[in-house]
Symmetry: C2
Subunit: 398 residues, 2 copies
Amino acid sequence: MSGYRYATRAEILGASIYDHEPDAIVLNSGLAYPPLLPDVIREATEAARSHVEETLQYGPLMGIDDLRDEVVRFVAEDEVRCSRENILITYGAKNALDLALRVFVEPGDRVITTRPTYMTALQIIRSHQAPVLDIGQDNEGFLTDELEEKLKRLRANGEPVPKLLFDVPDFHNPTGITTSLPRRRKMLELAREFGFVILEDDPYRRVRFEGEPVAPLKALDDDAESVVISLGTVSKILAPGLRVGWAIGAPEVVKRMSRQKADGGSNPFTQRMVTELMRGNKLSKHIADIAAQMRLHRDAMTESLREFLPDAGVRPPQGGYFLWATLPSGIDGDTLAATARKHGVEVSSGRLSYPNEYPRNRLRLAFSFVGPDHIREGVRALGGVYDDLKKQEKNNGV
Amino acid sequence: MSGYRYATRAEILGASIYDHEPDAIVLNSGLAYPPLLPDVIREATEAARSHVEETLQYGPLMGIDDLRDEVVRFVAEDEVRCSRENILITYGAKNALDLALRVFVEPGDRVITTRPTYMTALQIIRSHQAPVLDIGQDNEGFLTDELEEKLKRLRANGEPVPKLLFDVPDFHNPTGITTSLPRRRKMLELAREFGFVILEDDPYRRVRFEGEPVAPLKALDDDAESVVISLGTVSKILAPGLRVGWAIGAPEVVKRMSRQKADGGSNPFTQRMVTELMRGNKLSKHIADIAAQMRLHRDAMTESLREFLPDAGVRPPQGGYFLWATLPSGIDGDTLAATARKHGVEVSSGRLSYPNEYPRNRLRLAFSFVGPDHIREGVRALGGVYDDLKKQEKNNGV
């Protein structure tokens, strides 16, 4: 046999974004801050105790009922009204996105996202061979006018209108922007008019440093004619390694998504652990601790960028895990990220967050994983790499 | 919005095979026998202890190294020689099948399977919109002559040759047949000649009641020009709820499969638990206990079928979890299964295991989940339902 005959999608995907160099300062990944990972001995023991009845058998496709009920309670704090049958438990929000794509998207169907958008979501969308219709953002978030115009043009040309929109309306990944209430209402209006479903990916909502929350799209959705599937996860509020997330949608939709799980019911063992972690009032305290810590990280990163990379344009986000930087136009994000990696600092070139065309001079920085001192050290090293590149740039220019 | 616009694959999938009626005697699912589910308190505590370093962060896409090493050791007992870089950890063998399909198969590409074959594998293959080229079985297993003839015809007609073959060569699901060594060698020869990859799904291999093992296809594979991806799981030897399985293949192939994981690295928490469960020599003892118990279940089922459903043709399998029954030609498996469900016994119509055309008079019975007494009770009830159907059949005929 002379070589493997791969499918197209196996050729598309690039390098993994999960591999890190040992001893690197990791500023390219939304990993949890290790000192705030919860002690789970009690919950693990609890899960082990129900091994026969629940945690070591195949679990139900929709997820275990107790956890679905906890999710109902959790999102009620954000005015999302739903009941157990609206909740599908998944391996994190990424898995939920994949299941939604399986349910709605054929190869060649276009998906709507912002430009830039969450880079792993783009990888998943690409693995479905779905081209992206990209829409800009401003300070108020998702540019609904641009979307409306593009959809009208598609309709006028007799072209198919996308069936799915993916967005991160709260503390957007990577830009940190929160979409305003009027824009959210307009997104819903467009979804109803043009018949698409909105995937509202909402992992960072509770990790707020300041400012007032805006109602989730799901809370503004019409129960009878639902157009929103809300995606949630415990990755940013408890621990990514538990691999537990959820989708909230019409019972018909989440049921169809559950049937697309190739691997049987998701892991019941960690579902039980998460159920125990969500019960009682310890979770809100824990989230408050995370938000307080992430605020320190954001401040450390913003301040050190101002000090060591003053040429970069930065808008400090009011919450979340990421910071988006605009470099002077001569500087290439790919080169800066690749060179920084050699110098022990890992950052993401902004290019990875763009579905189609991209500006070369953007960077995505994650401030979640390493503490303020390491953030400062990492940004200082990044600044040094930047200064060298700028000098080369100048010399090349002469 | 007037109704959802689903993708084709969301319409294809039928009812879930994971939903069971309360109090039903479940003879349609390869669930674990509850009394043999292992106590995992120690392993869960161990996993909880390494929460910061390993189990609560995103895990590596390929799986945690310690577990990959345990899998290397485990399959070495079957003469499969491989090293860590050949091992990809997944959420069970089903997830591995899905990842392999993502890597090799485009919608419309044909996949080779036996007729009948593992019903959930068929669901997964269908969700990839891949038609099936089906091949028969006899007492020696996979009919390589039929495959060769069909492949030659495709080639002669200038049609594309399938890129993937899926099979369960040991204690086949559902027929229980083990493919002979000469047939295995011929399968490999055809794979090399026609350039396809063999997915060897091997969950039941160690659950042997009698007879001598045949070398796995993976052990007969050529290391330099590998054509076999072996799929394994702890679902049938430890516990399905742990959701841990693996794929063994060329490093290039398993790496590409890892990139298709939509959901980040698989759950590191249960990976650590399984690592601890596989270490030491307790696992072989545990598997021996399972095999001894499953042998009792098989015997109870075979004997009670002979007593209560003597018209059924049954070949008792030498291992595994399933028994395949041929009913007299006037009896419809769908009707029998649906009626039995109403009488508190769940069995699978053989139709579900066929990729394309199907005989109407087959049944798949799982003997893993309920003990000998319940098996007997379930088969007695099934026999009663059968007798009623036969009477109706006769009356209709008169």
